[in-house]
C-alpha cells in the first residue's frame, strides 16, 4: 500500500524514466518488419491524425470487440535458459458489438521443422489449451469501467509494428502486485499489435507480437464453450454434485466475477466449473472439479480436521490447489497476486464448513 501511494504521487518525469526502461527491455526482445496489412481500412487521413491521439482504454476495448481480423503472431515462452517462439494464427469474428467467435491455431515453432518432437508437443499443447491462450494469454481489456478504475495509460508517442503505425502505450496498474503492460496500439484500428507483460521488477512475463494483420475473418466450425449466468446454473449443468462452493464476492477485492462457465478439464477430461474474476485487464480463475481424488491423501499432516493448500508461486503465476468432499479446487492467477492466498483460504474454510 505504501508503494501504491508512492506511485500515485510520482511526478511525470519519473514515470517517463520507468517507461523508458520498459521500452529498452521490449526493444531488446524483438523487432518486427512484417508486411503491410492487406485490406486495411481507408483511414489514411484518419491514421495521420490518429497518430497524434493517444489511445484510451475504451479505444482498445472497442477495437477488440468490433474488428474482424486475422492475425499471424508470435508468442514467446521462457523455456530452460532460452526462449521458445511459437507462431500462431488468431481469427476473430465480431458483430460490431462483441466477439461472436474466435479461433487460435498453432502454425509452428520458430526454428523447428514441422513434425519434430517439439513441433508435435506444441501442436498437442495448442490443441488442448488454445482457448486459454486466447482468453488469458493475451492483453485484453475485459471491462472498461474496472480497467479505468484500476489502471492508468501513459502515451509515449508513435511507433511501428507489423508495418503499421502504432502508438506506444504503457498500461500501469494502481496496485504493485499486478503486471505492467507495454503495448503498441494500431493507429488505424486500435488493435493491440504487440504486448509485453512485466512484473514489478520489470521481468518479462509474456510477449505476443503480431506479424501481419488482415481485417477479415473466416472462422472454421468450432464448438462454443458453454457459458452460464450464475454459479447455480453451472452447478446445475454438472448435475448439482455435492461439495461445490460458491465463492463469496467480498474475498476478491476490486476483482469482479465476469464469467462463469463449465468446461472439460484438459488434464483428466472431467467437467468443471470455472469462475473468472477480473479487474478490467488482469484476471484470475477459480475452478472446481467434482469427482476428484484427494491429492494430499496419506501425506503427513492430512489428518481429519486439518486442511492442506498446495501453493506454487513464481514470477509468472500463482496456483493454489486444495481438495474437499470429492471436489478439487484451483485458484490461479499472476505470480504477484499475493491476495490469492486469502481467496483460497476463505474458499477452503467455506468448503470445510459445509
Amino acid at each position: 500500500m505504501q508503494l501504491l501511494a508512492l506511485r500515485s504521487a510520482l511526478p511525470g518525469f519519473v514515470m517517463f524514466l520507468m517507461t523508458s526502461m520498459l521500452l529498452l527491455a521490449s526493444a531488446g526482445l524483438s523487432q518486427s518488419t512484417g508486411p503491410q496489412a492487406k485490406g486495411s481500412p481507408t483511414k489514411s487521413a484518419g491514421s495521420t491524425s490518429r497518430a497524434l491521439v493517444a489511445s484510451t482504454i475504451l479505444d482498445i476495448l472497442a477495437a477488440d470487440r468490433s474488428t474482424d481480423r486475422t492475425l499471424v503472431q508470435l508468442r514467446r515462452f521462457r523455456q530452460g535458459s532460452g526462449i521458445v517462439t511459437i507462431r500462431e494464427q488468431l481469427v476473430v469474428d465480431s458483430n460490431g458489438v462483441d466477439v461472436q467467435g474466435h479461433q487460435l491455431s498453432f502454425l509452428g515453432v520458430e526454428g523447428e521443422l514441422p513434425g519434430s518432437t517439439a513441433y508435435q508437443k506444441w501442436q498437442q499443447t495448442y490443441a488442448l489449451f488454445a482457448e486459454q491462450f486466447y482468453r488469458q494469454g493475451t492483453f485484453r481489456v475485459r471491462d472498461v469501467v474496472l480497467a479505468k478504475q484500476n489502471y492508468s495509460l501513459y502515451d509515449f508517442g508513435p511507433s511501428s509494428r507489423a508495418g503499421r503505425p502504432t502508438r506506444l502505450t504503457v498500461v500501469f496498474p494502481l496496485s504493485p502486485e499486478k503486471s505492467i503492460w507495454v503495448v503498441d496500439v494500431d493507429n488505424a484500428t486500435g488493435l493491440v499489435l504487440h504486448s509485453i507483460e512485466f512484473d514489478a521488477n520489470l521481468t518479462v512475463l509474456s510477449e505476443v507480437e503480431v506479424l501481419s494483420v488482415v481485417l477479415a475473418a473466416q472462422l472454421q466450425a468450432t464448438t462454443p464453450v458453454p457459458t452460464v449466468n450464475s454459479f447455480a446454473a453451472a452447478a446445475a449443468a454438472l448435475g448439482n454434485p455435492a461439495g461445490l462452493v460458491e465463492p463469496v464476492t467480498t474475498m476478491v477485492g476490486e476483482y469482479t466475477l465476469i464469467l462463469v462457465e463449465t468446461r472439460v478439464d484438459p488434464w483428466n477430461g472431467m467437467p468443471k466449473v470455472v469462475l473468472t474474476y477480473s479487474d478490467g485487464i488482469d484476471q484470475f480463475t477459480v475452478s472446481e472439479k467434482p469427482g476428484s481424488l484427494d491429492p494430499f491423501a496419506g501425506l503427513p499432516g492430512s489428518e481429519p480436521g486439518t486442511g492442506t493448500i498446495g501453493r506454487y508461486r513464481d514470477r509468472a503465476m500463482s496456483a493454489l490447489v486444495f481438495w474437499d468432499d470429492g471436489v478439487a479446487f484451483e485458484v490461479v492467477g499472476n505470480g504477484g497476486l499475493q491476495r490469492l492466498d486469502e481467496v483460497a483460504m476463505a474458499l477452503y474454510t467455506a468448503a470445510l464448513a459445509q
Binding site: 517439439a118 489449451f129 499432516g301 493448500i309 498446495g310 501453493r311 509468472a316
Partner: protein, 204 residues
C-alpha cells in the same frame, strides 16, 4: 471460783460506776451482799480506788515528749534487732499457717455449706496426658473446617476434570463446531493447471 451472787454484785457495782446517775434496783441488792461478803468488800474497795485513779489521766513526763528521747528509743530498738535475738528470729521466719487451719477459713460459721467448701478448695490439676489429649481435640476441631473445605475443593476439581475428560474423549467430534486447521504447503513445481501451460509452456 467466784460465786454467782458475788459476780452479780460486782457487776452491779461496776455498772453504777459507769452510770452513776442511773438508779438500778439491782444496785441496792448488790450493796446488801457486799455488806455481808468480805471478798466483795475487798473487790469493791479496789475497784473504787482504781476507778478514781483511772478517772484522772496522769500527765506525761516531759522527757517522753522530747524528740531526742524518742530517737534514743528507736536506736535501741534497731540495735536490738541488729544484734539478733528471739524477736528478730521470730520476725524473720515466714509466717506459716497453723497445720489445722483451712484456707479461707475465717469464721467457721460463714463457710459451713458444702458449696462454700468447694469454692474454697483448690481444683485438682489435670495430668499431662489429659492436657495433651485436650490439646489434640481442640486442634482437631480448629482445623476440621479447613480440611473439610480443602477436601471439598479437591473433590469438586476432580469431578470437573473427570467431566471434561469424558467430554473430550467420549463425545464424538462435530467438525462443524471446530475451526479447521488449514496450512499452506509450498510446492516445488507448478501443479497441473492450465495457467501453468500458458505461462511456462512445455516446461510444465
Amino acid at each position: 471460783m467466784v460465786s454467782a451472787s458475788c459476780r452479780a454484785s460486782l457487776q452491779a457495782h461496776l455498772d453504777s460506776l459507769l452510770l452513776p446517775s442511773s438508779v438500778d434496783p439491782e444496785a441496792s441488792e448488790a450493796a446488801g451482799h457486799t455488806a455481808h461478803c468480805a471478798n466483795c468488800r475487798r473487790q469493791v474497795h479496789a475497784a473504787d480506788v482504781l476507778a478514781s485513779a483511772l478517772r484522772q489521766r496522769p500527765a506525761l513526763p516531759d522527757q517522753l515528749s522530747s524528740p531526742a528521747f524518742l530517737e534514743r528509743v528507736y536506736e535501741r530498738a534497731v540495735a536490738q534487732f541488729e544484734d539478733g535475738g528471739s524477736l528478730v528470729a521470730e520476725l524473720a521466719r515466714p509466717a506459716a499457717p497453723p497445720l489445722d487451719a483451712e484456707a479461707l477459713s475465717g469464721p467457721r460459721g460463714l463457710l459451713a455449706s458444702s458449696v462454700g467448701a468447694l469454692v474454697g478448695a483448690a481444683p485438682p490439676q489435670p495430668s499431662a496426658w489429659a492436657w495433651e489429649k485436650v490439646r489434640r481435640s481442640v486442634r482437631a476441631e480448629t482445623l476440621r473446617p479447613a480440611v473439610r473445605f480443602t477436601r471439598r475443593r479437591l473433590m469438586l476439581a476432580t469431578t470437573v476434570a473427570a467431566t471434561l475428560a469424558i467430554g473430550v474423549f467420549l463425545v464424538p467430534d462435530r467438525p462443524t463446531d471446530r475451526r479447521p486447521e488449514i496450512r499452506f504447503v509450498d510446492l516445488g513445481s507448478a501443479p497441473a493447471v492450465e495457467f501453468a501451460v500458458l505461462r511456462h509452456g512445455l516446461d510444465h
